[in-house]
């Protein structure tokens, strides 16, 4: 790709622009790539661009919570399962918001997909994240998978396999904070916080208070700033 090295949001001030994007995101890879070509101003390479601020994340999650309620007619049979690391706090936040609106608790938990990945043999074996399925199980429920970034779709495929071994949900839906395009599998999200056109060379980094001390979504060119901690670069998660 010719424009690969250009950060998409290089211009100052474009940071929070799309944060108010509304409506269910249905965007796939081709669109993302198409829009990549329109990016012109190359910013300083080492500077990450803030694409979502804390308040934007807050609003996006509130909207997703309402969309889940709408789509599932009150979320009565809904179980929220976050994919470690950052999907887990997101699931908890969504559950809290739904509980606030409906005035009753919504079961949520976490689902580690490491053992189901298709790239296990490409890297040294890594530690596992927590899997906590709510006591009521997932049989006959509508499971909403929650993750921070939707990229290739391979994580979600692994999550579907993992769910298969845990029970038989009535339906499975997907909520993500950021959809950055470049899908490699026929997978799309039902609820999207923000559609973020990116190049594959860029890295999308999601920061959450629970795991990183602050909220924010950053877009940075590869080789931008060093990884702050293990698992910190979400863009590499494929």
């Amino acid at each position: 790709m010719a424009h690969a090295a250009h950060p998409a949001g290089g211009q100052p001030g474009t940071g929070g622009d799309g944060a108010t994007a509304r409506g269910p995101g249905r965007q796939g890879g081709p669109t993302a790539r198409g829009r990549q070509g329109g990016t012109t101003a190359p910013g300083p390479k080492s500077n990450p661009t803030t694409v979502l601020e804390a308040a934007d994340i807050h609003r996006a999650l509130t909207r997703i919570a309402h969309e889940i309620l709408e789509r599932t007619r009150g979320a009565e049979q809904v179980v929220l399962l976050g994919i470690p690391t950052r999907g887990v706090p997101l699931a908890a936040r969504l559950a809290a918001r739904i509980a606030q609106v409906e005035d009753r608790p919504v079961p949520y938990g976490s689902l580690d997909i490491t053992m189901y990945r298709d790239d296990l043999r490409l890297r040294p074996a890594r530690g596992l994240g927590p899997t906590n399925v709510p006591a009521e199980g997932i049989d006959g429920k509508t499971v909403v998978l929650v993750d921070d970034v939707l990229y290739s779709g391979r994580t979600v495929r692994a999550a579907l396999d993992a769910l298969n071994d845990l029970g038989r949900p009535l339906a499975v839906q997907l909520a993500v904070l950021v959809d950055r395009g470049h899908r490699e599998l026929p997978i799309r999200a039902d609820y999207v916080g923000k559609n973020l056109p990116t190049s594959q060379q860029e890295v999308v980094r999601v920061l959450l208070t629970e795991t990183d001390g602050e909220d924010g979504v950053l877009l940075e060119p590869v080789g931008g700033i060093p990884r702050p901690r293990r698992g910190g670069v979400t863009g590499r998660k494929r």
Partner: protein, 311 residues
């Protein structure tokens, strides 16, 4: 992690905690309707047992199968080893069959180490002579950590572990001393002088001969089996005398502090090193140890075989 697991000393503290934390997550698989993960699909694990074993072999087999690996059980009886085939030729046969991991138990100390030089796959020591039994030490550490309510990432700092009995012939004791010491536990050995190895002063543990003095200062008591099959001399006057001085009976159980646990790697000689009542008491973790063994061995197999092949 190293490619092979031959000695508990192969594991750094970080590696050990990674195994224990992974096992903690994998333990959940046992409670699921489908007790299987696809992780090691297409990989072959060979159980090569030159010595009798029930729990270790079954435990490794269950662990490998829960990870979807193909398991080949190689029992020496009925194999060409009975016809005089050497360890090396057996290893080359396994190599030709494409074993990704060889779980080996052998009566000779160092056999797994030799084997590791002959095969391309990972070698996991399931007990070699009186040398080491690292997965037993891992599962003991895992059991202790769970019983004392410590979670992922936590070590065993401050816990006092007393290992009692036939230390001389015990590979379990050797592996446990290294591993538990590394995890921060204070390890003490209690045994008759005849059943302690010569270079015991170099081990990172204290040594004494009096069980009654050691019990009130123990959070964990690990009883070792008297290994009659390895004894080629008289190490104590009679089994009865040994049992009276070093056996854990009900009276001695009462000397333990509240919350202390009793462990045994199995197989037990009830009435010799441990009284039947003690083995069946709520403080005993013996059955738990077996269940935890599967989770820990799943973790070891996953960490050695699950990722990119280590160089």
């Amino acid at each position: 992690m190293n490619r092979h697991l031959i000695s508990a000393a192969d594991l750094s503290k970080q590696d050990t905690l990674l195994v224990l934390d992974t096992a903690e997550e994998l333990a959940q698989v046992a409670d699921r309707p489908i007790k299987k993960l696809p992780t090691l699909r297409g990989r072959t694990v060979v159980n090569l047992f030159f010595e009798d074993s029930t729990r270790t072999r079954i435990s490794f087999e269950a662990a490998a199968k829960r990870l979807s690996a193909d398991v080949i059980n190689f029992a020496v009886k009925g194999s060409s080893v009975a016809k005089g085939e050497s360890l090396k030729d057996t290893a080359l046969t396994l190599e030709a069959m494409g074993a990704d991991a060889v779980v080996v138990r052998h009566s000779a100390s160092g056999a797994p180490h030799r084997l590791a030089g002959w095969v391309r796959g990972s070698v996991i020591n399931a007990g070699d002579g009186a040398h080491e039994h690292p997965t037993q030490a891992l599962l003991d550490a895992f059991t202790i950590r769970r019983r004392f309510g410590r979670g992922s990432g936590e070590a065993l700092d401050g816990l006092r572990v007393t290992i009692v009995g036939d230390v001389l012939h015990s590979r379990v004791a050797r592996s446990n001393v290294w591993l538990l010491h590394q995890l921060g536990a204070d390890v003490a050995l209690v045994a008759p002088p005849t059943l302690l190895p010569i270079a015991i002063d170099d081990w990172p543990c204290s040594v004494s001969y009096d069980l009654d003095a050691a019990l009130p200062k123990s959070d964990v008591v690990m009883m070792l089996r008297i290994q009659q099959e390895r004894m080629n001399a008289a190490y104590f006057p009679s089994v009865r005398e040994y049992s009276r001085r070093y056996g854990l009976d009900n009276a001695r159980l009462r000397q333990l502090p509240d919350g202390a646990i009793v462990m045994h790697p199995g197989p037990m000689n009830r009435g010799v090193e441990i009284a039947a009542d003690v083995a069946d008491s709520p403080r005993s973790t013996i059955v738990e140890q077996v269940a935890n063994g599967v989770s820990v061995r799943m973790a070891v197999l996953y960490l050695l075989l699950g990722g990119l092949e280590a160089q």
